[in-house]
């Protein structure tokens, strides 16, 4: 049986260096990752924390594997949500493949214990993050998602 997982592919006109920086530096992540600053020394075994503008810890994780500019694997626990916080940490893998003038980024979120609350929530959560990352790298400006218009 297939284990549940989410896989996203994004083609971005950028270099592996810039893409790596965008994923690993707080001054970049705060511009596309729901305003969160990432904190880590990016050594295997070190913690990876995503903190909101108010300093609140939203995502707590650990570095599992690092190949700079190519691959980053972290444990993922959405501690901001009481129910998700109970799920065993899942796994997020970022893979960067240069393809001429663009990079192909593949994000895989897996190692869930079945269809968990975390699995259901992140299915929606990654789309705006990855769209925002692409906009930031290609235009130099963050993508600000506004409120939906009133009911039609």
């Amino acid at each position: 049986m297939n284990q549940p997982k989410h896989v996203y592919e994004v083609y971005i006109r950028t270099t592996p260096e810039k893409l790596w920086q965008a994923i690993t530096r707080p001054e970049m992540t705060r511009q596309f990752f729901y305003g969160n600053d990432v904190e880590s020394d990016w050594k295997v075994g070190s913690s990876v924390r995503h903190k909101g503008p108010d300093g609140k810890l939203n995502l707590d994780g650990k570095v599992l594997e690092v190949v700079p500019q190519r691959k980053l694997v972290t444990a993922f626990c959405a501690v901001h949500d009481a129910e998700c916080a109970k799920d065993r940490p899942s796994r997020v893998t970022w893979e960067i493949e240069p393809r001429g003038e663009v990079c192909k980024l593949t994000l895989t979120h897996d190692d869930f214990d079945g269809i968990t609350k975390t699995y259901k929530q992140v299915g929606q959560g990654w789309n705006p993050v990855l769209s925002g990352l692409k906009t930031l790298l290609e235009t130099g400006k963050p993508m600000v998602i506004g409120p939906a218009p009133a009911a039609r």
Partner: protein, 261 residues
Amino acid sequence: MELIFKALAGPSRRTLLDRLFDRDGQTLGQLCAQVAMTRFGVMKHLRVLEAAGLVTTRRSGREKFHYLNPVPIRLLHDRWITKYAAPWAGALGDLKGGLEEETMSDTRLAGVHAEPALRHIQQIHIRTSPERLWEAITQPSFTRDYFYGTLVDSTWRQGAALVYRNPDGTVAADGTVLEAEPPRRLVHSFSALWDDAVTPDPAHRVTWTIEAMGPVCKLTVEHEGFAGETATLKSVQGGLSFILDGLKTLLETGQPLMSAR
């Protein structure tokens, strides 16, 4: 949006959605056989679901087939996530009640998915207006810069033909416009003709849904109604990200994602 809530408030209508979730594309007779309701009752409830956009229909000869359309539920879901702007917020969680199965189908949204679902749904957020996004989807001067170099051609009226032509004039894909509601929603059939592997596959259905969120549009593209794990489905799973990322780059930077064509 009120229509959606009203439609979902009825347990009989949720049962009908459940049956369509089990098997998409059923006739009135097939649905009646599975529920403890009169034929008239089922017809009445289907009309409410159709008015709310939760069910779409397609005629084939004397038969009318009913299809589940999860997009409005997804829009509802996303609306509350955006409202609270919280990371991974699942604010609809408490509301969903009997909608567990529909919510499950939402997870197929997640781009390329591990489960063998006979549909492929992807979402992308683009900094543009609904009008400009609609133009980019429907005009050849845009499609040639992101849709594998093809030029799209159609009047975009319901029932009109649509064709994606290669620069050499050969046809890469064609279809028929089923619904067009500029600049919000476009539904068309789609026959892939770009190589020998995909050409024998029957046509499937493509739905483009545009939702404005301040200065950004959320575009949801759904390919569904595949006859199985066809060559066309595999091709769509492998190629749609590239098309949508190219569309986003073109609209946000004015340049194609790949400069060489």
